[in-house]
């Protein structure tokens, strides 16, 4: 009975739908996934995609070069809109990263088997998104070569960071997040690197994968500690991912700017992060499974489940918008009321309403089962949500800042070419890293795919 299918209930009378195509074996799963990384010939499509991404990365390099030589005056942000694209893009990228950790850690703890074929590249996505995110505050400091001043160390200047500032919390949260994500990703890769080492034909590949695999041999004693470590990491990453976006929201909520100073920010930011992250996973997974013929591994069930999570988190985000509006009215605070009115009807009203359209209205189509089964539609919706989440950060940051307490300091924010080139450039960097990843590393966790095959079950012989 298809409609009794449940994804999370461990009830033996209910069979969950397969998360792997029928007829797969240990060997076929291994060969299919490892052949993508080990193939001698790189597909033409890869060169095309990687080439475009590389060009955009060059645009980023050029922008950074010009920025460092000239100063951050090349950007459009200035008082009163002192934070603009830097923080918008920083929050956007960090948010995208969160789905990777959610899929690999939280869904692991909840024993959601379907996470297995998407966790690896979702984790890679996290890592690359955090790298892109980090560039913005780093370069916004103006003198990025002195960024180590952010860390507490005994310097001859005798100056220490201010531990009561959300910005220093951010330094700790984001650097911890980047480190733990990298560890989690690498630990997950070790057994697969051993597979690649054993299956590689070329000497150079054997040596490189061999060094990275560190001599992994699949010993039962090793697996025992490995599984313990992996589970502990998942348990640690789960509160971490929640804390990171909470701290990011504190950057705003601890300030007294109208529209920022609200207690709903942490949960609403975390939900928004997961929302945009799942949208990005979907945006990446749909072309990947098509291009590499991975429909047996990233099945319709995965896409449907992700669509459901997007719908759920999207509704939480919608609740966040509602509470923001309600609080602005209920606070009876002139500045808060004005902020909300200005957001909805002011000079940036079109951005606000596009955000509502992208984040709230269009994704409601996912209520329909037919829509969740339509791959092309899911792809479009996921891109719409990515755009919507970017607009959300734009609205939060720019509309609150451009009309603050003193009308004499009001001004409009006009992004320059360099604002856009920096943003587009980081998309290029993100995609370039992703292209390199799918070319040289297994984009699906091979050993975890083996565990979910029916053959992996140990039958207790009655002997």
């Amino acid at each position: 009975m298809q409609d009794r299918v449940q994804d999370s209930v461990s009830d033996s009378t209910i069979t969950p739908p397969s998360v792997v195509g029928a007829g797969q074996t240990f060997a076929s799963v291994t060969d299919k996934i490892s052949s993508i990384a080990l193939a001698r010939r790189t597909p033409m499509g890869w060169f095309l995609g990687a080439g475009v991404s590389f060009l955009l990365t060059m645009l980023l390099m050029y922008t950074i070069g010009y920025l460092v030589l000239t100063g951050i005056g090349i950007w459009g942000n200035n008082i009163p809109v002192g934070w603009a694209f830097d923080i918008i893009n920083f929050v956007w990228w960090i948010g995208i990263g969160h789905a990777g950790t959610l899929i690999s850690a939280i869904l692991l703890l909840l024993r959601q088997q379907w996470r297995t074929s998407i966790n690896r590249f979702a984790e890679a996505m996290t890592l690359f998104a955090v790298a892109c995110a980090g560039l913005f505050p780093l370069l916004h400091t103006g003198r990025p070569w002195l960024a180590y001043w952010l860390f507490p160390y005994p310097s001859t200047m005798g100056v220490w960071p201010q531990f009561r500032s959300p910005l220093i919390w951010d330094v700790f949260a984001v650097s911890t997040y980047a480190t733990v994500s990298a560890l989690f990703w690498f630990v997950g890769l070790i057994p697969d690197l051993a597979t690649l080492r054993d299956r590689a034909r070329r000497k150079a590949a054997k040596i490189i994968y061999g060094m990275l695999a560190m001599g992994w041999r699949g010993s039962a004693r090793h697996w025992h500690r490995y599984e313990t470590a992996y589970l502990l990491l998942a348990g640690l990453a789960t509160p971490l991912v929640v804390s990171v976006h909470t701290v990011v929201s504190f950057d705003f909520a601890v300030g007294i700017i109208p529209g920022w100073h609200t207690t709903v920010f942490p949960p609403y930011f975390v939900a928004g992060a997961i929302y945009s992250g799942f949208a990005m996973v979907m945006t990446l997974a749909i072309p990947l499974r098509k291009f590499y013929g991975l429909q047996d591994f990233i099945t319709m069930r995965h896409l449907r489940n992700m669509a459901k999570i997007m719908l759920a988190t999207g509704l939480i985000v919608g609740y966040g918008y509602m509470i923001e509006t309600f609080t602005a009215w209920y606070s009876a605070n002139t500045y808060e009321e004005f902020m909300m009115k200005n957001r909805m009807t002011g000079p940036y009203a079109s951005v606000y309403w596009s955000l509502i359209l992208c984040n709230i209205l269009i994704p409601q189509i996912l209520w329909w089962k037919k829509a969740r089964g339509n791959v092309a539609l899911l792809f479009v919706v996921s891109i719409v949500v990515n755009v919507g989440m970017w607009l959300e950060r734009f609205v939060i940051i720019v509309t609150s800042l451009h009309r603050d307490f003193l009308p004499s300091s009001w001004a409009m924010y006009n992004p320059t070419f360099w604002d856009f080139s920096m943003f587009v450039g980081t998309i290029g960097l993100f995609l370039s890293l992703l292209f390199l990843f799918i070319r040289f590393l297994p984009m699906i966790s091979i050993f975890e795919m083996r565990t979910i095959l029916p053959q992996a079950e140990v039958h207790e012989a009655a002997d």
């Binding site: 041999r217 050993f447 565990t451 053959q455 002997d463």
Partner: protein, 179 residues
């Protein structure tokens, strides 16, 4: 030099995880102690079949986390009250609620680092060389074959008898593992 001093053990190859678990259990019942199983994915039933004791890793992670927690808080406390005190409107220097985020992040960071480094250290990795890699078919241990190796240092080990024993367990191939 006796021939067994160059011998690490005898390894048997199986096609199914069930066969490996079965063989491991039988070998332990037979009295073998020094052995290990090798598989392309974690098999929970092997822990019991090989009598693998619970790892100390959780304790290491707990200690790492506690050091991170105390260290993170002490860092904030020490900087804010002692080396760089800033009197802002007479507010207390030890404003501990503001130190919680950094304390929390340090806890997670040190716990995660000790989980990974602890796992690698207890497993003795990185270890570039191991005798089992000398077995030609062992490269399938990371694909679709399951191995059980009884080591020559086992008191009950006897090359002929152990080989025979493993062959009887339904192994597709039994080979010697040399150093």
């Amino acid at each position: 030099m006796s021939p067994s001093s160059r011998l690490y053990g005898v390894i048997a190859e199986f096609e199914e995880p069930t066969a490996l678990v079965h063989a491991a259990r039988r070998a332990r019942e037979e009295g073998y102690q020094k052995m290990d199983a090798y598989s392309p994915f974690p098999i929970e039933a092997l822990d019991e079949a090989l009598a693998i004791r619970h790892t100390r890793l959780p304790l290491i992670v707990l200690i790492g986390g506690l050091i991170g927690c105390v260290g993170g808080f002490f860092l904030c406390y020490w900087v804010s009250t002692t080396v760089y005190p800033l009197n802002i409107g007479g507010r207390p220097l030890n404003s501990w609620p503001a130190f919680i985020p950094v304390t929390f992040e340090c806890t997670i960071l040190l716990a995660a680092l000790s989980a990974v480094l602890g796992m690698l250290a207890l497993n003795g990795l990185p270890q570039p060389y191991h005798p089992v890699f000398n077995v030609p078919s062992f490269d399938q241990a990371s694909r679709n074959r399951f191995f059980l190796c009884i080591e020559a240092s086992d008191p009950k080990f006897d090359l002929q008898a152990t080989r025979k024993f493993l062959e009887r367990l339904g192994a597709t191939e039994v080979s010697d593992v040399e150093f």
